[in-house]
């Protein structure tokens, strides 16, 4: 890994997991100093049409975005800074019973 980059692990859940396939776990390398907004931009670049952006981006408050288990609303929102080794989760609501 280059010195000026960071690697994060992304876990996706429920309907989002179906978009990414498999176990829904992705690894992403980003430049140092990247935020959640940068991560979302990178995901859009990589997964493009496969990804229903409206469901994932911070615009949709139903999808909880967590960094190391904390919801970003209670951190710095989309501006939350990422560090090497961080775990990011995208959790949409579910309705089955």
């Amino acid at each position: 890994m280059e010195e000026d980059s960071l690697k994060v692990i992304i876990r996706t859940f429920a309907t989002l997991r179906e978009i990414f396939g498999g176990t829904g776990v992705l690894y992403l390398e980003l430049p140092e100093g990247s935020t959640i907004e940068d991560l979302l931009r990178e995901l859009r670049k990589q997964y493009g049409s496969k990804l229903d952006v409206g469901r994932l981006v911070g615009e949709n408050p139903n999808v909880k975005i967590l960094v190391n288990g904390r919801e970003i609303t209670y951190l710095d929102g989309l501006g939350t800074r990422l560090r090497d080794g961080d775990s990011v989760a995208f959790i949409p609501p579910v309705a089955g019973g």
Binding site: A14, T15, K64, G69, I91, A95, G96, G97
Partner: protein, 265 residues
């Protein structure tokens, strides 16, 4: 905490009208530290509404009936179908085509004849929700869609009824205990009305796990034991067996619960 002797339970039970059969039936939970006859009586006096007797409701009602809630009111419109049987463990082949609430009531009454059971074969709507809620102390959400959940949430918040929320998808589960005025409601958690999905994937044990957790939360709220998951969304990933606890706060702009006086703490 002091562990009470069986004779202590016996004398208190006599005073409080618990039968010998009831003492024997509930013996193992009466032995739980801090539970005792007082908690059993709280359960006996409680009136619980379970909305939906599918995958979640099958298991939640089994545990609530066996724990000894005084009144178990169930509401569901559906009939038992073959595709239900991978997860809806209240039913067997003999129940195919029969109304779920009727089969459920028969089975649960056989399990525990001490409790009162009401089976209501209706769809919960804005029109009947108040009537369904009337006289109950606690509500368990075992529904299978967002729209009805929001109707139930809004009515529970308005009437100050505790609501245990559970939901599943595939091999995942969600759980949150909603106490109006004490923590966030379902609309704080899910501010927008999401798209509904029909015939979602479900691995049978998941609604079992979440339904059992819902019954556990209901018992805790009724008896006052332990710490219910208020303001905590429990996310279960059955695929790698991870349990996540996510802090959820009240949304100050929540159109439903912002009107309720806050008693944080």
């Amino acid at each position: 905490m002091e562990i009470q002797s069986p004779s202590y339970h016996r004398s208190l039970a006599d005073k409080l009208n618990l039968s010998s059969e009831e003492l024997e039936r509930y013996d193992r939970q009466l032995r739980l530290l801090g539970f005792g006859v007082e908690s059993q009586l709280k359960l006996k006096r409680s009136r619980v509404l379970v909305v939906g007797v599918g995958g979640l409701g099958s298991v939640a009602t089994l545990y609530l009936a066996s724990a000894g809630v005084g009144l178990l009111r169930m509401v569901d419109y559906g009939d038992v179908e073959l595709s239900n049987l991978n997860r809806q463990i209240l039913y067997t082949m003999i129940d195919l085509g029969r109304p779920k609430v009727e089969s459920a009531a028969k089975h649960l009454q056989k399990l525990n004849p001490e409790i009162k059971i009401e089976a209501i074969r209706e769809r919960l709507t804005e029109e009947n929700v108040e009537e369904l809620l009337s006289g109950v102390d606690l509500v368990v959400d075992c529904l299978d869609n967002f729209r009805t959940r929001f109707i139930l949430n809004d009515a529970c918040v308005e009437h100050g009824k505790p609501l245990i929320h559970g939901a599943i998808y595939g091999a995942e589960g969600r759980l949150m205990t909603i106490i109006p005025g004490k923590g966030p409601c379902l609309r704080c958690l899910i501010p927008r009305e999401p798209a509904e999905h029909d015939k979602i994937p479900v691995l049978g044990p998941l609604p079992g796990i979440v339904g059992a957790l819902e019954a556990l939360e209901a018992i805790k709220v009724i008896t006052g034991l332990g710490e219910p998951a208020i303001g905590k969304l429990i996310v279960i990933d059955g695929m790698d067996l991870s349990f996540y606890t996510i802090e959820i706060r009240r949304n100050p702009d929540c159109p439903v619960c912002r009107k309720i006086k806050i008693e944080e703490g």
